[in-house]
Amino acid sequence: MIANLDYITLQQLWWILCSVVGALFLFLTFVQGGNTLLWQMAKTETESALIINSLGRKWELTFTTLVLFGGALFASFPKFYATSFGGAYWVWMLILFTFIVQAVSFEYRKKPGNVWGAKVYELFLLVNGTLGVLLIGTAVGTFYTGANFSLNDYNQVSWQYTLGGVNLRGLEAAFSLFNLSMGLFLVFNARVLGALYLLNNIEFGPVAAMETRLRKAVWTNFLCLLPFLLYVVVSILLMQGFHVDESGVVSKVSFKYFFNLLALPQLLIMLLGGLGLVILGVLAGAFKGSYKGIWPAGFGTVLVGLCVLCLPAFNGTAFYPSQFDLQSSLTIYNASSSQYTLASMTYVALAIPFVLAYVAYVWKQMDSKKLTSHEAMDSESY
């Protein structure tokens, strides 16, 4: 069956698969959100240990999903990987550094012989949860606002934005209010998810005050994300988009993404349904005393993420537009791997449901009992 799929179908399928992985990553940023909550939510050593140990049992999944997102983009859309990573050098390097320092922080923070002290690693976690997610959001924002690159006949990238004679290599994306808003939306959404996850995962018996703080954090962070979310959504509906005609010529078109939503109602349903689920999870976690708000909010985040990643890629749209040279813009059709490679990888992707199944099974096994203070304070814990 896969062998019979045509090239365009494979290209679209792989963008959707990459988007699913990206959207799952956005859900799993509850770890990053939780990292940032540590400083505000934990008032005692026991509370810190509970938060750290709860997140520490999941950080690898988030990290691995990010790696897979990168790997899948590399394999299926190598021109995007080369153009974005090679062009927006500083953005990706900064994201990279925030994830490097996070990777060791859980393991090293409380180990005897730790020369830098627990606070340093907690700072690393904070940087990862704020700057790391903000920059990822900013990078996602460039799918809508474009970036400043050009490609030559050999598809070699040149970055064209300088400030005071210095090539900013992607950092200029932060000058866009839209990109910044996307980043801040993701930061606060991660914090909402982090609080909801901790509510779900921790046994609050002896630390009941932290439960109250977490429920409050769900609501306050949701309120914080609202203006950024609204700005992003309204901007998407109103902004010019990057249309690609049948001959591959790219031009700016007013209300492009609004029309994309009308042309692709499934994305509109995902967006509205996703936002509804996030609100449902928030209300359940903040006001209804529920411990399960993470599931609707998490699933809602996945749906919103899918919409955000698919909207600028389908219906004749350039998903990585160039502001400097419109005709260098990348589409899922000019940036993808060959048909043979996409088909080969599609066979491999048949294993994804199996992977998801065992991840879910192990998650259930490990989280069937909530994390207790006793476990969190154990000498072998994080």
Binding site: N53, G70, G86
Partner: protein, 510 residues
């Protein structure tokens, strides 16, 4: 004296080399120690002896400390392919990206999912499921090595692809050929088994320290028995497999083999240099002696390289300047063909742009004649195709000498432990104490041979590193290089300090 060229491409190389070498401090330990933990835990599951549980948890703690930093450094390499080698990423992403994606789907999730059970599941899941999880982490870690080494093997010996002049990139046409590339198979088996060896040496080192200090004697002896058996089997395999790896190199990377052996002038019945000091003033094509001192085993290089006594093994000069008698085309000739291929490719692109179909067809026909030499067209001089013999030769010989020593060390430890006299052998324990350091040296030397030996190529014969690099300012790469140096140094200090503290606490902490 090695000339250092502080250009963009060399800073990019330096940054990647720094990351890869740093990453490879931790990865072999992960590959081997994960299996050793699985062995220890399986014994615990079978015997129910709590001492084995304590042993398992002790080594697992060290595994966890090492694993975290290995993961942290792994993601850098993936990112750097894009950030610093974007031309490479585009030109071969169609082929190279696939193993990376498969690595993510199959291997990383296995590790990440079961890692949490391994460390925090002792009281949450059954003993059997816990042991299963430990095995899954071991298998996942080694599966990830499979795919990244498939990718590396392809860079050393590109197969299963075709050049597409439309997209100006290489595209995969035979996935099986990429996966079962003989170079990839030997890369994986050699690297993973050397990881088992290194982890076994690591266990010997720490256990030897305990025995010298008279602490945790039972635990140390039990650990040594398991590690010695695993290490002995692995080290013997590494030796035989290393021979196979060198044979593969001889077939597809003759310049690397010449560098490994310091062979400038090819010869029939070539001898293997068992020991030697290279003449640093020697240049390709001159008449100086290659060695200041050498001890050769006659005929052995011909036998190992071609499986045939008296056969011809080409040297650097034959490969650069050609050897008609042996039917070897020199780099100088290949460069001419490569330059023609590049010019015809440019003509083809221009004709396509001008919608000149006839011109495009003609240019493509000319291009097809020389396309196999495309990469050589980028070289400035034939001598550019020669890697640093000084580095490759010395690294290769360090690796081989140490590789020969390891089976002896494992055999001695196993013999005296089983005989019950290990603690009396005060001469052996200090050797065990330094053995992990020797293993580290051998590991690093091996990768230096593999990677420096294939310079100047990012993709052997197809793409030199200077074409593969991203068009960045040198300053940008210099800044990130020193950022990496600083972060790596801080993390290494933390890792070593925590590791030493855990070793000092010992298994009683569990």
């Amino acid at each position: 004296m090695i000339d250092v060229d502080f250009s963009l491409v060399n800073w990019s190389r330096a940054q990647f080399a720094l990351t890869a070498m740093y990453h490879w401090i931790f990865v072999p330990l992960t590959l081997g120690l994960s299996f050793l933990c699985a062995f220890f835990e399986t014994i615990y599951l079978k015997t129910g002896n709590e001492q084995w549980k304590s042993i398992t948890r002790f080594w697992m703690t060290l595994f966890g400390i090492n694993f975290a930093i290995g993961v942290a450094t792994g993601i850098i390499l993936e990112f750097e392919f894009g950030t610093n080698w974007s031309n490479y990423s585009w030109m071969v992403g169609d082929i190279f990206g696939t193993p990376l994606a498969i690595e993510g789907i199959f291997a990383f999730f296995l590790e990440a999912t079961f890692f949490a059970v391994m460390f925090f599941g002792w009281d949450r899941v059954s003993k059997g499921f816990h042991c299963f999880s430990t095995w899954m982490v071991a298998i996942g870690s080694n599966l990830s090595a499979v795919w990244i080494l498939v990718a590396n093997g392809w860079m050393q010996h590109p197969v299963g692809m075709v050049f597409n002049p439309e997209t100006v990139r290489f595209e995969m046409e035979d996935f099986a050929a990429v996966v079962f590339n003989p170079m990839a198979v030997t890369k994986f088996t050699h690297a993973s088994s050397s990881g088992f060896l290194f982890a076994s040496l690591f266990v010997l080192t720490i256990s030897s320290w305990y025995l010298l200090k008279g602490r945790h004697i039972e635990m140390a002896k039990k650990s040594i028995v398991v590690a010695s058996v695993f290490g002995l089997i692995s080290s013997i395999f590494v030796a035989f497999n290393g021979d196979e790896a060198a044979y593969e190199v001889a077939q597809v990377q003759p310049m690397k083999l010449a560098a490994m052996e310091g062979l400038y002038k090819g010869e029939k019945g070539a001898g293997l240099v068992a020991m030697g000091i290279l003449n640093p003033a020697k240049k390709p094509g001159d008449d100086q002696d290659a060695f200041l001192y050498e001890f050769k085993i006659p005929e052995l290089l011909s036998l190992l390289a071609n499986r045939k006594l008296g056969s011809f093994v080409p040297g650097v000069d034959d490969l650069i300047y050609g050897n008609k008698d042996e039917g070897i085309m020199g780099v100088n000739t290949m460069m001419e063909k490569g330059q023609l291929a590049l010019a015809d490719l440019a003509s083809y692109k221009q004709a396509k742009k001008e919608k000149n179909d006839v011109g495009a067809t003609e240019a493509l026909a000319r291009f097809d004649v020389n396309k196999d030499y495309l990469g050589y067209g980028y070289l400035s001089t034939p001598e550019e195709a020669v890697p640093s013999l000084l580095i490759v030769f010395n690294a290769f010989h360090v690796m081989v000498v140490l590789g020969t020593l390891f089976p002896v060390i494992f055999a001695a430890f196993l013999f005296y432990t089983l005989k019950g006299t290990l603690t009396e052998k005060r001469w052996l324990l200090p050797i065990g104490l330094i053995s992990a350091f020797l293993g580290f040296l051998a590991q690093q030397a091996g990768w230096i041979v593999a990677e420096v030996g294939r310079q100047p190529w990012a993709i052997q014969g197809l793409m030199p590193v200077k074409v593969a690099t991203t068009n960045l300012s040198t300053t940008a790469v210099q800044v990130t290089f020193f950022m990496f140096v600083a972060v790596f140094t801080l993390l290494l200090i933390a890792e070593v300090s925590i590791m030493l503290k855990q070793i000092s606490i010992g298994p009683e902490g569990h």
